[in-house]
């Protein structure tokens, strides 16, 4: 039977960004309904779960973005405790990152320590011998050294999404399926229809539909210029405890080896701009695995458990959109690209503040809706 729901806020998108937004809105005692779409290609369940401002920020980006990433990391522990999620239940833990200066890169990474120092990031350049001391399972044939970054974190994005979805159900925040299929005006409110025939009438709407935000935005007459950037991941099983940190490999699509739970290794990834299919391909998986086996030779014996892919929502300036749209009833929260897991918690908090017309507490001007953006470009696939 189809449902007819009246709420203060409807959130379109049931990935990490949409769910975190819904949770933060609910904590403000607003009534909320979430409309979700397909699970195919969803970024939130594809992600590795690294929470690493230091590895992900690049100095060509505005400083406000670094501040946002940093706040994203700092806010994780209070966010988890505010919603009653234990760190263990969502796989959250603090960890160091080893940013490997791979020999396959033509240029060295060592100069990155300069801006890290400037931003107050606790880091240290390690010689190849020091890398061997810190990470005895990595082969020095593959790197010229590394930057060791202290105290960043990882989370299991699948577990986090599930925990948030359960929290929402328990707090009377319905999560409807079938995707948004229609939008109408109803006496100044917005009437949203789903593919299952449900109707949600809302005073305000948050668009958080990841790579589908452009499509969803069009239904509201908005231009939300995000494109899907595919990334492939392989999950392997091997002996536990081989890595003491997350190995970040800034080559190709910026790969990583993340130990998600003891003996479970998440390895990626690619950046593919031109292949909107959820498949895994020989070129990408082959390269990911051969780089893994070069960096950690023992990995040649690890068992492949699973592989998947998902689509990161990217704007052409690679910054998110976190702002009210031209239609003041709508807030847009998307474009998180490579950092949506890191920014999950803080985005929910900021968007809830925007909905309540409160000052968000961080400068969001760089992330405004309607800022001048170039059209997307056909980048080559990176892996």
């Amino acid at each position: 039977m189809s449902r007819n729901i009246r709420v203060d806020v409807a959130v379109v998108g049931d990935g990490l960004i949409g769910m975190s937004t819904a949770l933060h809105l609910r904590r403000r005692y607003l009534s909320v309904a979430v409309i979700g779409g397909t699970t195919q290609g969803r970024a939130s369940t594809a992600a590795a779960g690294m929470l690493t401002p230091a590895c992900e920020y690049d100095p060509w980006m505005p400083q406000e973005f670094y501040e946002l990433l940093r706040e994203g990391l700092d806010y994780y522990p209070p966010f988890l405790s505010a919603f009653g999620f234990t760190p263990e239940s969502v796989g959250f833990r603090s960890t160091d990152f080893t940013l490997l200066d791979l020999v396959e890169r033509p240029d060295s990474l060592q100069s990155r320590t300069e801006w890290m120092d400037k931003y107050g990031i606790e880091n240290r350049w390690l010689s190849p011998a020091e890398v061997c001391d810190a990470e005895p399972h990595l082969s020095p044939r593959t790197f010229r050294g590394a930057i060791r970054i202290k105290d960043e974190a990882v989370v299991n994005p699948r577990a986090l999404l599930q925990a948030m979805t359960e929290w929402a159900s328990a707090e009377e925040c319905p999560v409807l399926v079938g995707g948004l299929t229609g939008v109408d005006d109803e006496h100044g409110r917005l009437r949203l229809t789903t593919g299952e025939g449900d109707t949600v009438i809302a005073d305000q709407v948050v668009i958080a539909a990841g790579s589908w935000s452009g499509q969803v935005g069009r239904a509201f007459g908005l231009d939300i210029p995000v494109c899907p950037v595919k990334g492939q991941i392989v999950r392997l099983a091997g002996p536990p405890g081989l890595l003491r940190s997350v190995a970040f490999m800034p080559s190709g699509g910026c790969g990583s080896i993340v130990s998600r739970s003891p003996g479970e290794y998440i390895v990626g990834t690619s950046e593919e701009y031109l292949r909107p299919e959820t498949d895994n391909t020989a070129g990408v998986v082959g390269t990911i695995l051969s780089r893994l086996c070069a960096v950690v030779p023992e990995a040649a014996e690890w068992r492949i458990e699973e592989m998947w892919s998902g689509f990161r929502p990217m704007t052409s300036d690679e910054l998110p959109i976190l702002a009210r749209a031209d239609d003041p009833r709508i807030v847009v929260a998307t474009g998180h690209h490579r950092n949506g897991v890191l920014l999950t918690a803080v985005t929910g908090r900021l968007v809830a503040a925007l909905i309540d017309d409160e000052a968000p507490g961080l400068s969001l001007d760089r992330f405004r809706y309607g800022r001048p953006l170039r059209p997307h470009t056909r980048f080559a696939t990176k892996y």
Binding site: L274, R275, R374
Partner: protein
């Protein structure tokens, strides 16, 4: 205010030969270029280059001086059959005029060449060579519609220049123009 102008030049037969010779000497980069950009190089063109590579072990004659460095007989871009594409390229590259000016590039002469496998850039003469089959197939969308993404985002055609292979001597590795010129396409 930065400017950017595109001119056109008609192809010479020796340019096709020289670009094919170069391709034989850089087959690895060529194959990678096509795969990573989802560019469907016509089978016979690629097969011909692979065959020559197999026969002469990747050694191709080095043109002296390279034909792509000579002054082209340029004509206004509006006078060639691919005028619409060149207008789009000029419009899109204008978005990067400031970065291009840093690399001292404020014009480009484009030649559409039959029978070549990729887009090539000759830095000396600022000439861009585009395969005729690619020029005919360039789309203003990022990708073709799929069930998951039925409405693909629109895209610039600037990649035809930024990702063209830079014509280096056979002994030197090449790379896409944006990389060689140090231009960030997304800034």
């Amino acid at each position: 205010m930065n400017s950017f102008t595109i001119r056109a030049a008609r192809p010479h037969a020796d340019e096709t030969t020289a670009l094919l010779d170069w391709s034989v000497g850089h087959l690895d980069e060529l194959e990678r270029w096509a795969i990573r950009r989802q560019v469907p190089v016509p089978g016979p063109i690629l097969a011909g280059i692979r065959r020559r590579y197999a026969e002469d072990g990747g050694r191709a004659p080095e043109p002296v001086p390279p034909v792509w460095d000579r002054e082209p007989d340029s004509v206004p871009a509006g006078q060639v059959p691919e005028a619409a594409l060149l207008a789009a390229l000029e419009r899109d590259l204008l978005l990067y005029a400031a970065s291009l000016a840093e690399g001292r590039i404020d014009d480009l002469t484009v030649t559409t060449v039959p029978g070549v496998p990729a887009a090539f850039y000759a830095p000396q003469s600022r000439r861009l060579f585009l395969p005729d089959w690619l020029a005919e197939a360039v789309s203003g969308r990022l990708f073709a519609p799929t069930a998951l993404f039925p409405e693909p985002p629109s895209a610039t055609v600037s990649w035809l220049f930024f990702q063209s292979l830079v014509l280096t001597p056979p002994s030197l590795p090449s790379g896409p123009a944006a990389h060689v010129l140090g231009i960030r396409e997304s800034d």
